[in-house]
């Protein structure tokens, strides 16, 4: 038998102070998190003053012993009267905030037009006003959640969704603002047990917990500073271990992007590059009219730090600015073959990470045509929220061949500017790398013979080399030679262990283990080529052989890394560095099943006569027209049906649980509310509804219910308690008398008792 002893006490000043503190933390935390996470331009001083005022108002309104609803209505009416004359400003503020949110959430895919930019430049005060209006609503809701309900779940539900979109696009709010919210959530959760029994006790614990939590989280921030944070190796190892486990039979592929790391990412963590393990899960579905070997590039990285590859600093891109004509560097190669056939490729992201599109080389779709994605600097195409399927166009024959057309006009001008940028920023190597190179060269001289560097005529790479433009032949040959030298001095090993902490990734690979896989070869190759004066960058993505059907499911086994070298006048060109893979789009990987070498893929037939302009992009095609994977349409459909069924089932269960919780909550409020007559009548109604289950009517409860219904007197607390106990006893008795199979159903329905 369990008894809960409650020790209720009236609200006092202490309770109000505690509630006020929580309100203030929640409100200021939410306000400044919004402000900083979404880059709003509201005035922080006015916002802080507004938060304090709103917290006090909300506290006062919800602390009133009666007429709370009237006070709220009065407050809202006063607010409406106050803002009505300034409604135009508020609309202006709304538009400004919409623009800012769009700018942040699209991750640069959308940038404000000139008109919008002008609005944003002038809209600081209006943004503040609109934000204060939003905060007023939030303050009332938070006041209800904190002062009346004391529900930490509701506070979490009211404040957390404000930040989730920012978190999803990797935007963190100002740390003190986030800590303020975190302290509020934790303090409410920590004091919830006390507050449930006694509001004064809850207030005391809140007042003690808030400074304790603030100190703890502050110290934690100091001990684990954000600036020096490195993704820990244990997490990387755990990620590999989890990914290598076969979850396919247990976990349906609902939200795959959170559980898939194979592919591309903003930070290439070299320190965690341990043995390769694959789950075989499908990450992309590709449908293209052109079969053969192809790269699907994700992100590229330009800065090597010893244990990571990261993007170039944002500031250097600010210096570069927009290229003339709005050209994107990823489009340059396709522009060198204006008469070549173009092909559509539809890529559906089923779980590949990185928030980027995986696209083939020689991309024709430009910034104006792409939808659901955006070019991010010169590195990649970012994927917009909610868009998973994109159709892009490319010219697979637009290589740096002898018959390529030189860029002209604005495109040439843009390429020239970008070329300067490339030569300034893509040739950097760490100072210590020359020592690494010297040690490697000693070994190179001992182990490499002329045979190693003999160009095999049957090597598809050589065909590409010979077909290349004379202008680039030397560069491409150097790249090929570096690959050959790496192959001669190292050994491909997918099971190589991760490097020890503090080591340099490339040095450890070249001079210690001499074993590695694509990440090792691409990293080493990129640095070596840079020392040779060739601008190079590291690229991650997928390498896949498209079958004749043109449809392929790309799994995590197809994840790959290679390098891109910059060919002046042409653009970035992929070069394979890993032995066993054949670069220049000519050979099949050793690990891929059923490779189909198709050197310099030439389309058999263009889908339409060669257009002179890029076709209209259709990034969101009809889902029904999606490609079927190798498993066949029936298998895929069955999977989809299973997934949808399970998803709907889970959603229905969740909805049912929420509805049940709501009904139970309402019922409990009736039974325990201030109106004793209503409570007894509710209990009597329950007693009557028990009859079909075998329940019996209780004369005492019936008498009390009659009294509650017909007598002018109000029932006492003792009478209510007596009625509830009698009904509870009857529920217990009825449940015990039911057969075992019926009892769970009964408990599900009558769980409120």
């Amino acid at each position: 038998m369990k008894r809960q002893a409650s020790h209720t006490s009236p609200r006092g000043p202490l309770v109000r102070v505690g509630d006020g503190l929580l309100l203030l933390l929640a409100l200021t935390g939410a306000a400044f998190s919004l402000l900083t996470a979404y880059g709003l331009e509201a005035d922080p001083r006015i916002l802080l003053a507004g938060c304090i005022l709103l917290a006090l108002l909300s506290l006062t309104v919800f602390s009133l012993p009666r007429f709370r609803w009237a006070a709220q209505l009065g407050l809202l009416a006063a607010l409406a009267l106050a803002v009505w004359p300034r409604r135009a400003d508020l609309l202006f503020g709304t538009r400004c905030i919409q623009y800012r949110l769009a700018e942040v959430l699209s991750q640069g895919a959308w940038s404000p037009s000139e008109e919008a930019a002008a609005l944003l430049a002038e809209g600081g005060a209006e943004e503040t006003a609109f934000l204060l209006l939003v905060l007023t609503m939030l303050a009332l809701l938070l006041g209800w959640a904190v002062v009346r309900l004391r529900s930490h779940w509701l506070v979490l539900a009211l404040t957390c969704p404000l930040l989730l979109p920012a978190f999803l696009v990797n935007r963190l709010p100002a740390w003190p603002a986030f800590l303020s919210l975190l302290v509020c959530w934790c303090a409410m959760f920590l004091s919830s047990l006390s507050a449930r029994a006694d509001r004064r006790a809850g207030a005391r614990l809140t007042l003690a917990a808030v400074p304790a939590l603030a100190a703890a989280f502050g110290l934690l921030t100091l001990a684990q500073p954000q600036a020096s944070y490195v993704y820990p190796q244990w997490a990387q190892r755990a990620q590999y271990a989890l990914r290598s486990a076969d979850w396919g039979s247990l976990v349906p592929d609902f939200l795959p992007s959170f559980f898939s790391g194979a592919g591309s990412s903003s930070v290439i963590n070299l320190a965690g590059a341990g043995p390769l393990r694959y789950s075989g899960r499908t990450l992309l579905q590709v449908d293209t009219g052109l079969p053969g070997w192809t790269y699907l590039r994700g992100r590229s990285a330009g800065v090597y730090t010893g244990d990571t590859w990261v993007d170039l600093d944002e500031e250097v891109y600010q210096d570069l600015g927009e290229l003339p004509g709005g050209y994107e560097p990823l489009n340059f190669p396709a522009l060198t073959a204006p008469d070549a056939a173009w092909y559509p490729v539809t890529v559906e992201n089923l779980g590949a990470p990185g928030g980027c599109l995986y696209l083939p080389y020689y991309l024709l779709t430009d910034a104006d045509e792409v939808a659901g994605a955006a070019f991010v600097e010169d590195s990649y195409l970012s994927q917009s929220l909610g868009s998973r399927r994109h159709t892009l166009y490319y010219r697979p024959d637009a290589g740096p061949w002898w018959d390529m057309t030189r860029l002209t006009g604005t495109a040439a001008e843009a390429e020239e500017i970008y070329r300067d940028f490339v030569y300034r920023h893509y040739l950097e190597v760490p100072e210590d790398f020359f020592n690494t190179l010297a040690r490697w060269e000693e070994r190179l001289l001992q182990s490499v013979t002329g045979d190693n560097l003999l160009l095999d005529g049957e090597d598809p790479a050589s065909a590409a080399l010979f077909r290349s433009s004379e202008r680039y032949r030397n560069t491409l040959f150097q790249a090929w030679a570096v690959r050959a030298m790496l192959a001669a001095t190292t050994e491909y090993d997918p099971d190589v262990a991760a490097m020890p902490e503090g080591a340099d990734f490339v040095d450890y690979f070249l001079n210690e283990t001499q074993r590695g896989y694509c990440m090792h070869y691409a990293s080493a190759g990129a640095l070596i080529l840079r020392t040779m004066g060739i601008p190079t960058r590291y690229v991650s993505g997928f390498a896949v052989t498209v079958p004749e059907s043109g449809q392929v499911n790309v799994t995590d086994e197809n994840a790959h890394a290679w390098v891109e070298v910059y060919l002046p006048g042409y653009g970035w060109y992929p070069v394979e560095m890993t032995p066993g893979y054949s670069g220049l789009g000519t050979d099949a990987p050793e690990e891929s099943a059923g490779p189909t070498p198709t050197p310099t893929p030439t389309p058999e037939a263009a889908p339409t006569p060669v257009p002179t302009e890029a076709p209209e992009a259709s990034p969101m095609p009809d889902p029904d027209s999606g490609p079927a994977g190798p498993a066949g349409p029936a298998g895929l459909a069955a999977d989809q049906v299973l997934i949808w069924t399970l998803g709907l089932l889970l959603a229905a269960l969740g909805l049912g649980a929420m509805v049940r919780w709501g009904l139970l909550y309402r019922h409990r409020r009736r039974l325990e509310g201030p109106d004793t007559n209503r409570a007894v009548l509710t209990a009597y109604g329950d007693l009557l509804r028990l009859t079909p289950w075998g329940g019996r009517e209780d004369p005492e409860v019936t008498g009390l219910a009659r009294k509650a219904r017909f007598s002018p007197h109000t029932l006492t607390e003792d009478e209510r308690r007596a009625a509830l106990e009698r009904v509870q006893e009857e529920v217990r008795r009825t449940a015990a008398a039911l057969p075992a199979w019926k009892r769970p159903v009964f408990r599900l329905i009558w769980g409120r008792w």
Partner: protein, 329 residues
């Protein structure tokens, strides 16, 4: 609190997975925050280890059927409140042997010395000595994850006394009260019956039997004796069906009170139903009756047991109370 532990475990697992699958700082910080949170909670609970639980019977004795209970309180000097204290209680009726385990949760602020309390209503439908023993006290932290042990308090006892009914004393109980044993009369004085004994310091000089003392060459005292009334002893069977035992105890209580009202001190005697040990209490006033009843209610009353077997000695008038009648041997 299993629900809270599971909830925290799920949150920690989520934070761990977030850290594993997300390379960002937020995931890292949240994992550490999740690890730190219980420590903060524990730190805020440690000052409460000085508080203590207490159990009091309120009131200490009631008649059967009247409301009674135990008051369980938490006391301490800490400003911090008790998030939740879980007490495991064992309630036992010594007479009937009925026992019940229960779990009580106390929470609230410690107001000075006085903290959260709960009145545990006890069933008083059966007579007996009810003992409330706290088997275990656990103090939970704010999150409800850690359970810190506290020293259990001393047990408390509550007497559920038999009812008092009108009990007309039979007339024959007043007869034959004479003829009891001769006992020295306090204060001495004249009398036909006397006894001789050696002098003891403090004996009055006028009680010295000088003639005999001179013959024996030692002081001999003449102690006047007077006949005592015969001792009235009430006995009863301390076993039987529950209803009969209740009835017997009601009659015992009523009988003793009637005898006291009649100015007749008496003895109450019974045999322990299991060991056969004789229990004998002299009842001269209400206080004595309470002590006697406490002893009666503390012995078990099984369905069958041992009874008094020896014959009443001379000078003792014994009455045996049974559920429906009295037997005077």
């Amino acid at each position: 609190m299993a629900r809270r532990r599971v909830l925290y475990g799920a949150a920690l697992l989520a934070a761990l997975l977030f850290q594993i699958f997300d390379v960002g700082y937020l995931a890292h910080f949240l994992l550490w925050a999740m690890l730190l949170l219980p420590l903060v909670s524990l730190g805020l609970t440690l000052p409460l280890l000085g508080c203590r639980a207490e159990v009091l019977a309120r009131p200490a004795a009631v008649e059967r059927g009247e409301p009674a209970g135990f008051l369980v309180t938490l006391q301490g000097r800490s400003w911090l409140p008790v998030s939740r204290a879980v007490l495991r209680l064992h309630l036992e009726n010594a007479l009937t042997g009925e026992a019940e385990d229960s779990r009580l949760v106390l929470a609230g602020a410690l107001e000075g010395e006085q903290g959260p309390e709960h009145r545990l209503e006890t069933p008083t439908g059966r007579c007996g000595r009810l003992t409330c023993r706290v088997l275990r006290v656990r103090l939970l932290d704010g999150l409800g994850i850690f359970a810190l042990p506290l020293r259990p308090p001393a047990p408390a006892a509550l007497l559920v006394l038999p009812r008092t009914e009108p009990f007309p004393l039979p007339e024959d109980w007043g007869k034959g009260t004479q003829g009891g044993p001769l006992r020295p009369r306090p204060g001495g004085g004249p009398g036909e019956d006397y006894d001789l004994r050696p002098y003891r310091a403090g004996d009055p000089l006028r009680s010295v039997h000088w003639k005999l003392s001179s013959k024996r060459d030692e002081l001999v005292v003449r102690e006047t004796l007077e006949p005592q009334r015969r001792e009235f002893v009430v006995t009863f069977p301390h076993f039987g069906p529950a209803e009969e035992v209740e009835r017997t105890l009601d009659r015992l209580n009523s009988c003793c009170r009637a005898l006291l009202e009649a100015g007749r001190p008496h003895r109450v005697r019974w045999a322990h139903p299991v060991t056969g040990e004789i229990r004998d209490f002299r009842v001269e006033d209400l206080r004595g009756l309470e002590r006697c009843l406490e002893a009666v209610l503390s012995d078990p009353a099984p369905a069958s047991g041992l009874d008094l077997t020896e014959a009443p000695p001379a000078g003792e008038q014994r009455v045996r109370l049974e559920p429906q009648r009295e037997v005077s041997p």
